[in-house]
């Protein structure tokens, strides 16, 4: 999985984000209407697609899409 694939999957979960809006450097909190529901959707997506379950605290520390991707990769590595 590379970051573009990751972004595509994220994009697929958020109907209200215009195509191309999400980039590695995009701040997660800049996503329109970002809130608790989005956090839940992200946790569920990453669990389903990558088999790692993020904690709320871990997600809260993440700023950009790149950081979120790096976290998922790191957690996946720790798991193996």
């Amino acid at each position: 999985m590379d970051i573009n694939e990751f972004i595509q999957k994220l994009q697929g979960e958020f109907e209200d984000i215009p195509a191309g809006f999400l980039k590695p450097e995009t701040k997660i909190t800049d996503i329109e209407g970002w809130g608790s529901m989005h956090a839940l959707i992200v946790i569920a997506l990453i669990d389903t697609e990558y088999g790692v379950t993020l904690k709320g605290d871990e997600l809260r520390k993440v700023q950009s899409v790149q950081e979120l991707y790096d976290l998922v990769i790191q957690l996946k590595k720790n798991q193996q």
Partner: protein
């Protein structure tokens, strides 16, 4: 010989809180958005002076009216499962024996459990019957979560509702209740908790003053970290189901219906997909009841049976999970 669920009934308070009404209180959310977030369209709200022991009386009266072949004089054990007991002592179940007009020759206990409460109470009832302590157990499960929700906490108000279920568990020729898998992780306690009501967190003058504008939150106040609860559910529920199926030497396909604690529409759907349960085998009724804590599973069982989705002889897997953290599951043969 074994134990089985002989009959179920439930009671709902009259007052309905719709998404339209919530949307008027929290204009930043449309009724559709509330439904999308929670899977709930309406929930019931207990009257201001109605606490679970009152609901228990209404529910029990309804139960015996609906099931005339069940007699109060045959009840030899009473279990009251709620997180909102009347007082520190005596046990609310003892008081209810008298209020409900049940025989004095019965055992009565409270089990103060929430989301997993139905599974835990059922486990105790099953054990009581299998050890010949009791033959007919009246099992009351329900709560009044809306009493411990701050009026401005939109997330919790969207999810929770009030209800009380009555289940009769009786000795039977064939065991209708399978083995249990249970789990507990108290490190999750702070993530779903009612504070400011007793013991470790007494209601202080400061507390009552802080919430004076909402009546002082005298029953305590519920707080939930939604992301942690999702994380917990994703981590614990799929292995719970797997372990139970292995214990019972069954596969996912052998189960006719899955009835989970109706936590939220979102969590239910995520779990259904993760465990790979087909939609038609996954019963939900959160849409018009909300999360009624310990009452969700019996409410869903009742509705599933009424809708013909759980028929005689069917294997129904029930799973409760949440506040504690506490979780448990078993397989019923209807």
């Amino acid at each position: 010989m074994g134990a089985c669920i002989k009959a179920i009934s439930y009671y709902l308070p009259e007052k309905i809180l719709t998404n339209e009404e919530l949307s008027r209180i929290f204009p930043e959310y449309t009724p559709e958005e509330i439904f999308r977030r929670t899977g709930v369209k309406e929930r019931r709200i207990a009257a201001a002076d109605e606490i679970p022991s009152d609901s228990a009386v209404f529910a029990t009266e309804k139960f015996f009216a609906e099931h005339p072949s069940c007699k109060k004089e045959d009840i030899d054990f009473l279990i009251f499962t709620t997180e909102m007991v009347d007082r520190r002592g005596p046990a609310t179940a003892c008081v209810l024996q008298n209020t409900l007009g049940l025989p004095t020759q019965l055992g009565a206990i409270d089990i103060p459990m929430g989301c997993s409460g139905f599974v835990y109470g059922l486990m105790v009832a099953n054990a009581l019957i299998n050890t010949k302590v009791a033959k007919n157990i009246l099992f009351l499960t329900g709560d009044a979560a809306t009493k411990v929700i701050h009026p401005r906490d939109h997330e919790l108000r969207m999810i929770f509702g009030d209800a009380m279920a009555v289940t009769l568990i009786s000795e039977s020729e064939n065991a209708g209740i399978g083995s249990f898998v249970l789990g507990t992780d108290g490190s999750g306690a702070p993530n779903l908790i009612v504070e400011g009501c007793c013991g470790a967190e007494k209601p202080t003058r400061e507390w009552l003053d802080k919430y004076a504008d909402t009546g002082g939150m005298p029953y305590g106040m519920l707080s939930m970290k939604g992301t942690e609860i999702l994380n917990f559910s994703l981590k614990k529920v799929p292995p719970l189901i797997k372990e139970l199926l292995e214990k019972e030497k069954l596969s996912l396909e052998d189960i006719d219906l899955f009835v989970f604690h109706q936590a939220s529409g979102f969590i239910l759907e995520v779990l259904r997909r993760k465990i790979k349960i087909p939609k038609e085998k996954f019963f939900t009724n959160i849409e018009y009841l909300g999360n009624t804590v310990a009452a969700t599973i019996p409410l869903a069982l009742y509705d599933a049976m009424k809708a013909g989705k759980a028929k005689k002889g069917d294997k129904v897997l029930i799973a409760g999970f949440g506040i504690g953290y506490s979780w448990g599951a078993t397989i019923l043969t209807i």
